[in-house]
Amino acid sequence: MAIVNDAVDVVVVGLGWTGSIMSIELAKAGLKVRALESGPERTNAEEIYPKPADQLGYSVRQKVFAKARQSALTVRHNQSQTALPTRRWGAFKPGNGVGGAGVHWTAVLIRPTPTDLKLKTWADQTYKPGQLQDDMTIQDFPVTWDEMEPHFDFFEKVCGASGQAGNIKGVIQEGGDPFEGPRSNPFPLPPLKDTLNNTIFAKAAKKLGYHPFPNPSAAASGAWTNPYGVQIAPCNYCGFCSDYYCLNYSKASPQTTILDAAKRLSNFDYRVNAHVTRVDLHDDKKTAKGVTYIDEKGQEVFQPANIVILASFQFNNVRLMMLSGIGKPYDPNTGEGQIGRNYAFLSNGNATLFFKDKNFNPFVTAGPTGQMINDFSPGTFDATPYDFIGGAKLHSSQAGGAPIGAALPHGTPSWGAGWKKGMKDWYGHSMKVSITTTCMSYRGNYLDLDPTYKDPYGQPLLRMTFDWAQNELKLQQFLRQRVLEIVKEIGPDSYTESFLKPDAHWNTTSYISTHNVGGAVMGETPNDSAINKYMQSWDVHNVFVPGGNAFPQNFQANPTLMLGALTYFSVKQITDQYIKNPGPLVQI
C-alpha cells in the first residue's frame, strides 16, 4: 500500500444524510473529522435555477443518482435462484455524491408511531399465538418514544419541517394526525399549500370518517433559519422535486441544512471521488484502525482513524461490514449470524383517477405535496380478522408533474395517433390515491455477497434475496379495498389501478421507493442484532453504522426522520460517553 493519510479522530464513510449529521456534530464536539464520499461534489451553485427543471436529465437519465455501473446489486426471489445484477435501477435508485440520496429525495419527513417502535411487543399482545406467519422475524426497536422524541424534534428544526401537528404533549390538534405520538413542539413551519388532488382526497377521506392531514414536508413552506444558522428559502412549488436537485434552496438536503455550516469548521474536511473498499481492523478484530479507499486517480489510500462511521446507505453499509469481516454473516438455513439478516423493503399501490373537466396543474407542486391518513397503521385499526400485521400511509400525493410517463386512462393506445390524443386530452387531468406500506422481516429475506458478479474495484456485489410474503400480499388486498372505497366516494370519470395480486412476486423493475431497510439491525443483544441502540457494532466497538440497515422491519412512514433522529441519538452518546471512555456503550 502506497499512500497513508494523516490520522483523524473520525472517518465518515459517505456524505449523505447520516454522514452529514455525524460530521457536523462530531466536529462541533472538537474532533478532527474527515468524510470520504465515493461520488462527486454537488453544490447549490452548480444546480441553480432553472437547470434542474429537466425531466430527461434528472429523472429519466438520473444524472444525480448513483450509477448502476459502480453500485449495482444482484437480486433474486429466493435461495434456489441465481441472482442477476440490477443493470440499471428499477425498484429503488440510490444516491451518490455529496448529499447522497438527500439531494434528490421527495422530502416527506414523517415520524413513525410509538407502536412502530415496539411492534413485536404490540404484535404479541394483539395476535393469537401462531396467527402470524411463523417465518416472520420482526422485533422491537431498542429505543423508546421518549428517547427519540427530542431528536425527531431537532431534526425537524434542522430541516425546517412544514406540517400540522396532531398531538402536542398529549393534546390532540385539529387538522393533524390524531394517531401521532405526542410531540414536544408543533412543526417549525405551517404545512405546504394544498393542490387540487389534496383537497379532493381530504374531503372524501373525511366523509368516510378518516382523519386526513397534510403530508409532513421537508420542503419549507416559509423562510427558515435552522439551528446551525443555515437559511432555507420558501418553496416555490417548481414541480421538479422528487428525483431532482432543488433549484430554489427550499428542500432540506445535507447541502441546504448542514454542510454549509460544517464546512466552516476547520476540523472538518471531506474528499470526493473517494470510494471506501473496506474497514481495516486491528489483529484482535475488536477495533478498527481506519479505512481503505480508492481515490480519484485510482490509487489505494489508507485513512487512519480512531472512530469509523459507516454512513454509506443501508445496503452499502451491510456490504462494507461483510467485506471487512465485521460481525458474522447471516445464514438463512441456520438463522445464525447477524450481518445480512432481516432485510426488508416496502410495497406501494395506487389508483389513478381521471377527470375530463378538472385541471390538476400537476407541474405546480412540491415533492412532498399531499394529504394522507394514518387510519390504517398498526394500532390504529384492527387487522386481526384478516390474519396480517401491518398497514400503510394512505395518501394522495403529487410529487411531480413533468410529462414523460404521464398516466393515461385504460384503453389508451401505447403509441400512434391514439397515444398522442390521449396525452392531449388527459395530461394534467388525473390524480392518485396511493398506499405506501409496511414490510415485515422474514427468515428468507436477507443480504449476502454474490458469488459471481463484481464491482469495478473487483469486489463482490451485494446479493439481495427478497420476495413478497403472504402477509404483505394480504395487506395489499385489504388496502386495495379501502382505496377503492375512497375512489368511489370521489367519483372520477374513470380510474386505473395498480396493486399487488395475491400471487405476486417482487418486480425488480418498477420503482417503489428507496426505503430499503435492515441487514444490520439494531437490537438489545448481539443475539438479535448487529448493532446496539447507538448503532455501534457489537463486534467492533469503534465502528458505528447509522442508516436504514438499523431498522428491524419497515414501518409505513418514510424512513429519513427516524434515521436522522437515531443518528442524533447516537452522536450524542458518542460525544457524551464514548470519547471519554471508548468501549461498548451497551453492556450485556
Binding site: 436529465g57 442477476l84 421538479f240 398522442k420 392531449k424 425488480t508
Partner: protein, 241 residues
Amino acid sequence: MAVVNGTSRRAFLLGSVLALPTAVVSARLFGAAEAARLAAPVIDTYVPAFFAAPEWKFVMAACDRLIPADAEGPGALETNVPVFIDQELAGSYGRADDWYMEGPHDSKAPADMGFQIPYAPSEIYRRGIKATDAYTAQTHQKSFAELDAQTRDQVLTKLQKNEINFAEFGEPILKASAFFGFLLTNTQEGYLSDPMYGGNKGMGSWVMIGFPGARASFLEWIGQQGVKYPLGPVSLLGERA
C-alpha cells in the same frame, strides 16, 4: 465531439447563449429563443451522428408512425424526435455508460428481473433495425422504411407483441419486443423532453398538452386550484412558445 454537422454548430450556439448573463438574454440583444430556433436542425438535411443512412431512414419511418402528425398536434418528425434519438445514441446513453454491463448475461431471464441484455442501446438499435429490415425484406421484399404507413403499423405491432422471431433473422439474443420497447420509450422521451436534447422542436408537444416546461416557479399559482394554467412553455435555454 464526433459530430461534424448542424448539430455541433447548434451545440456551439447554445453554449454561447448559456454563457451569456441572463440580463443580456432577456434584453433580447441576442435572444435565446432565436438562437435555439436557428440552431435546431432541419430534419431533412440533418446528418446523423450515430445512424448510418439506411438506419436513419428506418428511424424516421418508425417515429413517423409512433407519433404521427395530424390535426391534434405535431408528430415526431416535425418535432425532430429522430434527431433526439440519434444524439442520445451517439452519447453516453447509447454506450450504456451508467449501466452495469458485466457478464455473465442471462438474456432469457424473466421480465421482472429487468434489463439483462448484453447490448448497450446503440447496439440494440443497430441489431433491431437490421433484423426488422431482414423480416420486411422476406415478407414484403422492401425495407421497413419503404413500406406504406398501414404496413409499417402492422410491423410495429408485431415487434411490440414479439410476433417477429428475431432469431430467424440473424439476431439470436435480442427480442423484437425489447427492441420495440427502446424505440417507443426513446421516441416519447424525445417528443416530451426539453428541446436542448434535440427533439420537441418549438416545444410543440408541450404546447399541445399544456405543460409549461422549465418555468419552475409557481408561488402565485399554488393557491389557484383547478384554474387552467394560462401561460405557454419556456425551455431551459429561454425559448418561448
